[in-house]
Amino acid sequence: MSMLFFYALIGVGLFTLGLLALVVQPHLLQKILALNVMGSGVFLLLVALGGRSQPVVDVVPQAMVITGIVVAVSATAMALTLMLNLSRSSPGAQLPEDQSADS
């Protein structure tokens, strides 16, 4: 039982770790990965806590997470396309505010 909470906490950890990386990492690919990790964290929390139902686990969060995974891949595909478009016009695949002074 406590393992479910352990997974949920790992989910929280992934969420905040992703948030930190999203804020501090300059490269867009890293930001995109960070968002995916955040998403995984949220999904983990959702499904893990659904296991608190006995004897049958609660499947509604699972269905939500499947929805979420599909949304995530759509968003990732869009983000990657945008990133490539951006790096075509300015090298480095970073947002202007993250670009270091020398590049």
């Binding site: 790992i10 499904v47 686990v57 499947i66 929805t67 995974i69 949304v71």
Partner: protein, 324 residues
């Protein structure tokens, strides 16, 4: 049993910490390629975690979509990025360091730690037992038309969410096409071994896809998993140099992309007229309706995922050629 429980706990702990550690390495390493590889590994470990959490459907979706297709998309994007950005040429991990001032970094870190603490506190305050909606799902499962609860939720109880989700998928391809400018598949260098491999694998994948689709009614599986396997088969075919689609012109492709959401909308309209509520299936026909929806949704999901991949892949190839 105690011993088994202990081993399991140890395994869970290891898995959980590995996930966190992998995420840490992935997000804070200086080599993008390594990050992507770690991301795929992360996805596979997530799939194991889903299994541990008694969520095999999510595990399948994670392995195929989360790790597999997202990984393929990332790889393909990275390859293209490398052609655009000399600093990323292989072997030169020249990622820019965070430009944040040291103090700002520590503030961000402090904030993250506080947020983690707060959220953890909130999570731990949840009751240790909670039925959620499992009772409701189980009691209505019989009238849902399927026996697998996840499929019942996705396609019946919360079918309206899935309808909108199909719209999200359609949007994603519309978006990638309109951003990247639709291009035809270019030439791909291939090898005989790959060809043989793909010749062997493709039919198997299609078979697996069909199986997952069919089995979804009573066991883990369903449209999303089936669709993503189908998409993966397509990705393999594209990689082996088979120009599957002439994306610019083919209305057949468009039809396949639209089939899933269109089926949902058509059925929603039909049920709205006949039953008075959208996506309310008469119990007798529920199984058939769901199978129909899932079949068309599988086609659309597979095609969409493939098209998303092709949408980024083809340009990379063209860029490569222009580079040479």
């Amino acid at each position: 049993m105690e011993a088994v429980g202990l081993w399991q706990s140890a395994f869970d702990l290891m898995l959980g910490f590995s996930l966190f550690g992998l995420a840490w390495r992935m997000l804070f390493c200086a080599d993008l390629f390594k990050s992507i590889v770690l991301f795929i590994t992360f996805g596979l470990l997530m799939a194991i975690a889903w299994v541990r959490l008694e969520a095999p459907d999510v595990a399948l979706a994670e392995a195929t979509i989360g790790a597999g297709l997202t990984g393929a998309l990332l790889m393909s994007a990275f390859a293209k990025l490398r052609t655009l950005d000399n600093s990323l040429k292989s072997g030169q991990p020249l990622l820019p360091r965070p430009r944040l001032h040291v103090i700002n970094f520590w503030i961000a870190l402090l904030f993250t730690v506080l947020l983690t603490g707060g959220l953890a506190y909130a999570v731990l305050s949840l009751p240790s037992h909670s039925p959620g909606l499992s009772d409701a799902v189980m009691s209505q499962l019989d009238s849902s038309g399927v026996t697998h609860p996840v499929t019942a939720v996705l396609l019946n109880f919360r079918g309206y969410d899935t309808l909108l989700e199909m719209a999200v998928l359609l949007l994603s391809i519309q978006s990638v096409w309109s951003m990247a400018g639709m291009s035809d598949a270019g030439e791909v260098h291939t090898s005989p071994v790959l060809n043989v491999l793909i010749q062997l694998l493709s039919p198997v994948l299609i078979l697996v896809s069909a199986y997952l689709l069919w089995v979804g009614a009573h066991a883990p599986g369903g449209a999303f998993q089936a669709g993503s396997i189908l998409g993966a088969a397509g990705v393999l075919l594209v990689l082996s140099g088979r120009p599957l689609f002439n994306l610019k012109k083919s209305w057949l492709i468009r039809l396949m992309l639209v089939a899933g959401p269109a089926a949902f909308i058509a059925l929603a309209t039909l049920t709205l007229i006949n039953e008075g509520q959208l996506l309310k299936y008469p119990v007798a026909n529920a199984a058939n309706y769901i199978l129909l929806l899932e079949t068309l949704a599988t086609v659309s999901i597979g095609t969409t995922l493939l098209a998303l991949f092709v949408g980024s892949q083809t340009e990379a190839v063209q860029q490569d050629q222009s580079h040479q």
